[in-house]
């Protein structure tokens, strides 16, 4: 499938003819206008040639043929002729009105001609040679009346039961297809599936340019429609079986699984809606356009992680598409309100769209298709599937895995961030999802229950996160009225502690610290006392010393005074005796 083929049939002015597409051998193509089919067929059905559309009853052949004409008339400016061999005109108009096709209006506008060819075996008696010129005349008349470029014959095989001579019929059919080709009419011929052949009457023998097979299978009570291009002469085409959907907009085929991996990778980061989780993811959160998986056992808060992202995205004014496969919209909003995540406001604002469906309401392909369509219509920046686990309930793991691969492809190509939740049951390995999509995931958060000391605590681990630094830490978190809160991590000697063990340990630590503090204070006080005692003793000693010092001083002074007194006494005695020996006497006195 090439990327250059773009969607046709949207908003084209009907008056303009879309430029012809050419295949490698110059084969011209007429865009069918059926969503997705033109991508598979690389441009549309072979222009000017008949295409056989076959399948069992109720596979959507008639609708295919009719949509081909209606889209041709409305979007590509190519009027068409619908020749019905089974349903009457009013029946057709009623049947497709629910699909938004206004057949009557198109007829009135001369863009579509519907002719009901009714043949009753009972009222026909074969009386000799004949041919089907009547059919040619009618077809020719109808083609001319609207200037048709497209023709659908539904289901021409019913002529086999109506006309007695199959040999005549076969040669006339051959002539009819030749006739269509000669007039350059792009035709869709429908045919009922045969036992061994594509069609019951072997129409593929006559129409060999392009054969499309429609299938309606029921596996385990769930029906899935599939389309396959069996052959397309002179053109490349997708050969897989493609699921298709019939809804109020007609047929949409999903040309899923792009072969290449060529998504653009955004460097932009978006918040997870949980502050500390952003920090754990390199401080910025998820990459825009990445695929996030939140896995965990029951009751770990997967939905809360998803809802947090939904809320923060919507608060930033972006749109979020939320698929709830387990809870109703009302239940989900109520439950999320209990953790402080108000989704209701976003629902009212229209930024959040909640789709609550049972996973087994339809096959996985159908889910994929409806998601595909919703993404196209709503254009969200985030898509949440909560949870993907149940998708496997109505299909094999392979189906679910394929579907998710396709979905991830689709979302990545549009730059839409995807968040899936996955329930891990107790029996499987925690680091394994039932759907086995882990290799497709860019950021994987594991939520687990840590059981210890008679309680269950929750811990969040980032198993991987491509292209960013991220925390290795298993972080405990709590779901409270303020939302999902990631708590401080307590790293003890024996690893990470959670819950009351963490609290106990923290208390213990606090006590120890207190004790140490008291001890230090006591020591400080003691030192102070000692210092004071020392100072006091020092004071006393100094005082004593000063006293003694004073005593000694006084003794010295007294001695000196006494000496002087003796000397003066002697002098006085000598004076009184009038002796000459006074000098000697003074000497003695001094000595």
């Amino acid at each position: 499938m090439s990327a250059r083929v773009k969607r046709n049939g949207r908003g084209n002015r009907s008056a303009r003819v879309v430029p012809l597409r050419r295949g490698p051998e110059g084969l011209q193509k007429a865009p069918s206008g059926i969503q997705g089919l033109d991508e598979i067929t690389d441009g549309g059905l072979p222009r000017g040639r008949p295409t056989l559309v076959c399948g069992g009853p109720g596979c959507g052949k008639t609708l295919f043929a009719l949509e081909f004409l209606v889209r041709g008339a409305t979007a590509h400016g190519e009027p068409g002729v619908f020749v019905s061999f089974e349903e009457s005109e009013p029946e057709i108009a009623t049947n497709v009105a629910s699909l938004g096709f206004d057949v009557r209006r198109l007829q009135a506008e001369k863009k579509l001609s519907v002719d009901w060819v009714r043949v009753e075996r009972s009222e026909i008696e074969d009386t000799g040679e004949y041919d089907l010129e009547g059919l040619f005349v009618r077809l020719d008349h109808a083609v001319k009346s609207v200037g048709a470029k497209r023709v659908a014959l539904d289901t021409i095989e019913s002529l086999f039961s109506a006309l007695p001579n199959p040999l005549v019929l076969r040669s006339e059919l051959r002539r009819l297809f030749r006739w269509l080709k000669d007039r350059g009419l792009t035709a869709v011929i429908t045919g009922e599936r045969g036992e061994e052949t594509l069609t019951r009457q072997g129409l593929e023998e006559y129409v060999s340019d392009c054969v499309i097979f429609l299938d309606h299978r029921v596996t385990e009570q769930v029906s899935t429609r599939r389309l396959r291009v069996v052959k397309y002469r002179g053109s490349t085409h997708g050969t897989n079986e493609y699921p298709f959907l019939i809804d109020e907009e007609g047929i949409s085929v999903l040309p899923i699984t792009s072969i290449g991996l060529d998504h653009r990778a955004s460097r932009e980061r978006i918040t997870t809606g949980i502050e500390r989780l952003d920090e754990m993811l390199g401080g910025k959160g998820y990459y825009r356009g990445s695929t996030v998986l939140v896995s965990g056992t029951a009751g770990t808060g997967k939905t809360s992680v998803a809802a947090s992202l939904a809320r923060s995205t919507c608060e930033n004014g972006e749109r979020c598409l939320y698929y709830a496969f387990e809870e109703s919209a009302a239940q989900l909003t109520r439950n999320m309100r209990s953790i402080g995540v108000d989704l209701e406001r976003q629902l009212k604002r229209g930024t959040l769209r909640l789709v609550a469906v049972r996973p087994n309401s339809q096959g996985v392909e159908m889910h994929l298709l409806s998601i595909h369509k919703a993404v196209k219509a709503f254009d969200p920046s985030i898509v949440i599937l909560d949870p993907i686990t149940n998708l496997t309930a109505n299909g094999t793991t392979l189906d679910a895995r394929l579907m998710l691969t396709r979905l991830i492809d689709l979302l990545k190509s549009r730059g839409v961030t995807a968040l899936f939740t996955s329930l891990t049951t107790g029996t499987t390995d925690l680091e394994e999802t039932d759907v086995a999509v882990s290799s497709l995931i860019d950021t994987w958060l594991l939520l687990e229950i840590v059981r210890s000391g008679g309680e269950r605590n929750r811990a969040l681990t980032i198993i991987k996160s491509r292209g960013m630094e991220h925390s290795n830490q298993s972080a405990e978190y709590r779901l409270s009225r303020r939302g999902l809160e990631i708590l401080d991590t307590y790293l003890g000697p024996s690893g990470v502690l959670t819950g009351s063990a963490r609290l106990a340990r923290e208390a213990e630590d606090r006590a120890g610290a207190l004790l140490r503090e008291e001890n230090a204070a006591r020591q400080r006080a003691l030192r102070e006392t000692r210092r004071k005692a020392f100072e006091r003793r020092l004071e006393t000693l100094r005082a004593e010393f000063e006293v003694e010092d004073a005593e000694i001083e006084r003794a010295i002074r007294e001695d000196a005074e006494r000496g002087e007194v003796v000397a003066s006494d002697r002098l006085r005695m000598a004076k009184s005796r009038q002796a000459f020996s006074g000098r000697d006497a003074r000497k003695d006195g001094i000595r």
């Binding site: 009714r118 009222e123 008696e125 040679e129 004949y130 059919l135 005349v137």
Partner: protein
């Protein structure tokens, strides 16, 4: 080829659809004329419609095969296809056997 009229209010009203004057058409008309003359003389009217000239008329009687003969009257409407060369079958198809037997 022109519509053969016998009487204004015919008991048998037959309409032969053809597309151009092909050998098959001519043969059909000749065969029809013969059968009518033999069995319904004076009681029938044949209208020939050439779809090449009036293609829009093909829808009304749900014409597919050429030639097709439609018995409009007497009711119910009967339809037989082919060049009417198998007289036995034409008689059966038009419910003419009883009439033929009565006539003979």
């Amino acid at each position: 080829m022109r519509a053969a009229r016998k009487r204004a209010a015919a008991e048998w009203e037959l309409r032969l659809y053809i597309a151009g004057e092909t050998p098959k058409s001519l043969a059909a008309f000749a065969n029809l004329k013969k059968i009518c003359e033999e069995n319904l003389q004076g009681r029938y009217r044949i209208e020939v419609i050439d779809l090449l000239k009036n293609p829009q008329l093909a829808r009304g009687d749900q014409i597919l095969a050429i030639p097709t003969l439609v018995r409009k009257l007497p009711t119910p409407v009967k339809k037989i296809i082919g060049d009417l060369s198998n007289e036995e079958r034409v008689l059966v198809g038009l419910d003419l056997r009883a009439v033929a037997r009565r006539a003979s």
